[in-house]
């Protein structure tokens, strides 16, 4: 991928040669992304932590098989997502995604009137409820594309689906969301 900082490539090369300092930097760089990916799949903080940690350990051990120069992020996230799926299996409970409360949302919010703030918050909450109610595969594709902001290609790697499937499932998921929101609005 063009524009990716050379530094990352260099870190990967060093980590591949067994340099733990370099790998620790990669881990730090991608912890948030890996943890969130695992959280969206497992819907459990503890499982997300375990899955991302195991993912990083397995990725290090698999680095020899990593093709130098290939994009590192989707490769790593694929391993983490796999760990997360393994942990998720057999689980019945599922924490639904929730929104940060308005005070945590930072700049821009303060300028709004309490009424418009409440309205905007309700609108977001409604959208999130709709996403939460999607079936798992639809919810995952929406989460990968819009919450993690992965490309179609990266989403395909993480979910282990062909890219065409990502596109068709995404379009189906968006259609369902529109239906649900339309029903609620009406």
């Amino acid at each position: 991928m063009e524009g990716r900082p050379l530094e990352e490539r260099e870190l990967v090369v060093r980590a591949r040669a067994g340099d733990l300092n370099a790998y620790e930097q990669l881990v730090e760089r991608y912890t948030s992304m890996a943890f969130r990916t695992a959280y969206l799949i497992t819907a459990s903080e503890a499982d997300a932590k375990d899955a991302s940690q195991e993912g990083f350990i397995k990725a290090f051990k698999a680095l020899r098989r990593f093709r130098p120069g290939a994009p590192f992020r989707p490769w790593l996230l694929q391993i983490v997502a796999n760990e997360a799926r393994n942990l998720r299996r057999g689980l019945v409970r599922r924490t639904e995604l929730s929104l940060r409360v308005a005070e945590q949302l930072g700049t821009g919010v303060a300028a709004q009137s309490p009424e418009s703030l409440a309205e905007a918050t309700e609108e977001r909450a409604q959208l999130l409820r709709a996403v939460n109610s999607l079936r798992t595969e639809d919810r995952l594709v929406v989460a990968c594309r819009y919450f993690l902001e992965l490309s179609s290609e990266e989403t395909a790697a993480v979910l282990r689906w062909p890219e065409g499937t990502v596109k068709s499932r995404l379009s189906r998921a968006l259609e369902r969301l529109r239906e649900m929101l339309g029903r609620q609005d009406g």
Binding site: F35, Y39, S52, F147
Partner: protein, 256 residues
Amino acid sequence: MAELQERLLRLGREIDYPETPNLGAMVRVRLEQPARRQRFDTRRLVVAAAVFIVTVGALLAIPTTRDAIAGFFGLKGVIIQRVPRLPSPTPTGGATVGERLGLGRQVTLQQAQAAVPYGISFPQALGTPDQVYLIQPADLKAVALVWRPRSGLAAAAQTGVGALVIEFPGQVQPDLFMKMLGPDATLEPVQVNSNPGYWISGKPHGFFFLDSKGNPREETFRLAENVLIWDQGSLVVRIESALDKGQTLGLAATMQ
């Protein structure tokens, strides 16, 4: 309709994710302990012991060598590891000493005694502990004893308490904690009540509790300073305080 996609993108930035854990240190610690799982292979153990005897002096004496080697020094119940750089400690909240130091459930000395299969002993020179904890999970049979700072027993910089004694039977869990020594911490083999032990001092070192699989428990990582650790019969005992080596060995001599 692009509007929905924009709304989803905005929504994604407002998801209430749990706080991202500090995994860099954990992953590194796990990747740095290659020899651990082979500890019970006797031949390896003999070789390791020989290497240990030969190298320990050199490692401790020559900073450049010891920095370069992420070695591993075995003492029953504890993994001591040299690392070139200490990870940053996990920020610990918690109002009580036990929460701050990850000590587990606070109990009375009598309750602790009823919960473990050995006689709890502590340096009699310190008097009765001010607080007693059963380290969790309780089947580790490990206890932590805390003495508040007082005259002659200054608060240790890393724990904030006067003295912290942790003891557990080495046979219940082969290893309960791990110490990571940065380049500036010194590790000195000592005899404690005729038992083998180590005195660790100098710059702070890393301290983790391990889970039953031997993996460091992330939430317990903190820094420690002056520590004496030794095998006392079937028990592993660890004293952490601001006292120097002579004073700590003096305390250890009053264990009962």
